[in-house]
Symmetry: D2
Subunit: 133 residues, 4 copies
């Protein structure tokens, strides 16, 4: 995606590991879109009453991924305590959504796929946190 | 604000302390709007070059307050690890923005006021976290 | 709410009618929170399968109210074609959500109240648009 | 990106042209990230005082792209008047941001690239609107 070129042109890059940050941003974009879509698919399923918690946690995860993506993109004079707390929240949101999606993966393919995307995003967040240690 | 009546009508309320949650939501609404506005005021000041970090941290804080408000509003089958991490991130974002606004409070009244709003929001978040212990 | 003081301190205010803009922002804050909450209440109702469209349109309306609020708050060198289109979209989102909530107002008090909030927000948006003519 | 598979699994797809919608969502994701990044790059430039309007319009465009992406993703019982107004607002936001970025394209490569991304997103939105006629 083109946005990566714009990030690379920042006149005063932050100390965040560039590669780990880009990976995190990329996964947050996919995960935000995937969770919005999985919540919406679930809402239209015949058994939507059983999908209530998937819908709720996917909406939360989508919200958190969007906030995380914006905060990790910005390189201008960050406060890394904010960055760290945000990325940790993203890990928690991805873990919660993936666990709930797993419960429906056998009968709803969109939940199976969404759980995978959440776990990739969780991994990318954990990798970024590891570079900040 | 009317939204509080809608929250009170949830058919299966969560275990979150109602009063502390409402206070947190209210402060997140004011803080999100205040930070968007303070970042925008700062961007138009003659000394905006010195306000770069205020702008950046106020944008982050606005983002986090909006995500926190949505997640705390929802009462349907929450994962409290997500709620807790989100509210903790909101504390970090408010602390960072307030500290930077303080540095400009003497010459920019909007920074002085924004710092106050951030600290009220921080306090409401900490109170909510205390009820979750 | 305190954010109004921060808006009033902008060093180079936009030509937007101040009073109409503040009213629009205030209603967008209440409507965004109300729609998030009404969608969540509806998701937990026993007849949630009949509430699918309320949930969907309330989520849309919440999204649009948040974007509108941020764009109307900013006074720094706006492009009023963007402002106008955004506020018009907010009218459409409020009209759609209110109409769907009306269908459930008789048996779900939160839908009755949410429809009222949406209509107040619609009115505030239309008033702001009238001042831009 | 994986989210497209999840969209394709919706049990009751909307009448929106699938291919045009996916293209619009994809460009909104790239444009939202690009505009957040261009605003942040601009904020750190030595001549940031001359970039004020880029920063403002890029923040607006990022906000609108995120809202548009979520509303176009959802296929559950849409109100197409809301969808249409949202996508039209996205066109306006992209046009405004691209025009302002053009003014700085000669001396700031990130503005040149951001203008291109905005125009691709504008085109994808216009294509989607054409299928809704």
């Amino acid at each position: 995606m083109t946005y990566q070129e714009i990030i690379a042109l920042h006149p005063h890059p932050s100390d965040l590991d560039r590669e780990a940050a880009l990976r995190c941003i990329d996964e947050c974009l996919d995960c935000a879109a995937s969770c919005t879509s999985c919540a919406d698919d679930s809402l239209s399923e015949d058994d939507s009453r059983e999908m209530t918690r998937v819908i709720r946690l996917a909406l939360d995860c989508s919200e958190v991924c969007d906030a995380t993506r914006r905060i990790v993109i910005r390189q201008t004079t960050p406060d890394f305590r904010v960055t760290r707390a945000t990325v940790e929240t993203c890990v928690a949101a991805c873990v919660a959504c993936a666990a709930e999606c797993d419960l429906h993966a056998a009968h709803h393919e969109h939940c199976r796929i969404c759980a995978e995307v959440c776990r990739r995003c969780q991994q990318a967040c954990e990798n970024l946190l590891a570079t900040m240690a």
